[in-house]
Assembly symmetry: C2
Homo-oligomer: 197 residues x 2
DNA sequence: ACCTGAACACCGTTCAAGT
DNA sequence: ACCTGAACACCGTTCAAGT
């Protein structure tokens, strides 16, 4: 569903248009690997035009992934708003996995080895921003901050990846949401049992 | 470090030689994406020769990933052997993350969207085999099997991916091993606190 | 300042032909 | 039965040239 505004990228925002086109290509699902020429074509520009705005294909993919993290952050932040602390971990955890399932290709790109976060501070920063929603939870639970933050994050991320990859076999009766609920439920119960020592 | 045996693949095991060469290319680190021609070149065979043994590049990558899972399985199984049940989760968890760090490129390929497990039963099967070491742990802990198995697996996998991606910022004093130890330690403590209800 | 067009080296894949 | 060699359409990237 591309908007039908006139090609404003001739006036200076080709960079933005390329990122937007990349996101749309990922959302429309067909694109497996997302090529530079493919994105240029979608915008209606020559194959070499992107090089005015991105050093190479990797840099373009990184910019798209960065935008993905910004959206990810917005989703996680919105999910936590107005939720009682006691339910926040489960709620944000569900939103995390929900984002992965709503945007599978984008989520995969965000964690793809094709875009190295180490080589791209802007991308790393956007990723960190998104993770704050999760890492902040630890304090709210009144638990040893560091371990709890890392394990919550790792649990939810691992769950997303394994479910997306269809690696966790769901039993016949059981659905995904129910499994997520029970796993997160057991996890917070464990944390609370520890806190009550 | 390629072995210097004569080219036996002219006698029928080119398939095996290609997989082996792929594993070596991944281990020697340089290869980011691992191409079909690249692997063929490493074996000393024409670019089209692999098509006698693999339908396409994806199938070759899947076979390499499958071999990765078999090695992964061997490492996890060996790690659990002769370890007291009480320490088994931590020990195998450490071995899981250890494998990821010893074989980063291979580990990434094993979980790459470039090789779809859904489309490849042999690969999926090898992956499941490797995971049994982890999922079997739940029973040993005497806990609700399903949730514990899934969350252990998700935690350890998420931790591997986030650490590999350099996403978890390690404090100045803290080293990776210590963090892993504390995270896994807190996790099993939580499980046990629950079990003791 | 920003984009096009042609060119380069490379890739995955196909297919006729060799042994 | 298994492999080669040439060919195809395609890709990322560079660079001179256009406006």
């Amino acid at each position: 569903m591309s908007t039908s505004v006139p090609p404003a990228y001739h006036h200076g925002d080709l960079r933005h248009a390329l990122v937007e086109a990349g996101l749309e290509l990922l959302a429309s699902g067909g694109a497996e690997s997302l090529g530079l020429r493919e994105v240029a074509r979608a915008v209606g520009v020559s194959a070499s035009a992107p090089y005015r705005h991105f050093e190479n294909r990797q840099a373009l993919l990184a910019a798209i992934a960065r935008e993905g993290f910004l959206r990810f952050d917005a989703v996680l932040r919105a999910a936590g708003e107005g939720i009682a602390p006691a339910q926040r971990l489960q709620t944000i955890g569900r939103a995390y996995i929900g984002f992965a399932f709503d945007n599978p290709q984008l989520f995969r790109l965000m964690f793809s080895p094709e875009v190295s976060k180490d080589a791209n501070p802007a991308l790393m920063e956007a990723a960190r921003l998104a993770y704050q929603s999760l890492t902040n939870l630890a304090a709210a639970e009144g638990l040893p901050g560091r371990e709890t933050a890392v394990s919550t994050w790792a649990l939810v991320h691992g769950l997303s990846v394994l479910l997306l990859d269809d690696q966790i076999r769901l039993g016949g009766i059981e659905d995904r949401e129910a499994l997520i609920g029970r796993v997160l439920g057991q996890f917070v119960a464990g944390l609370r049992a520890l806190a009550a020592h």
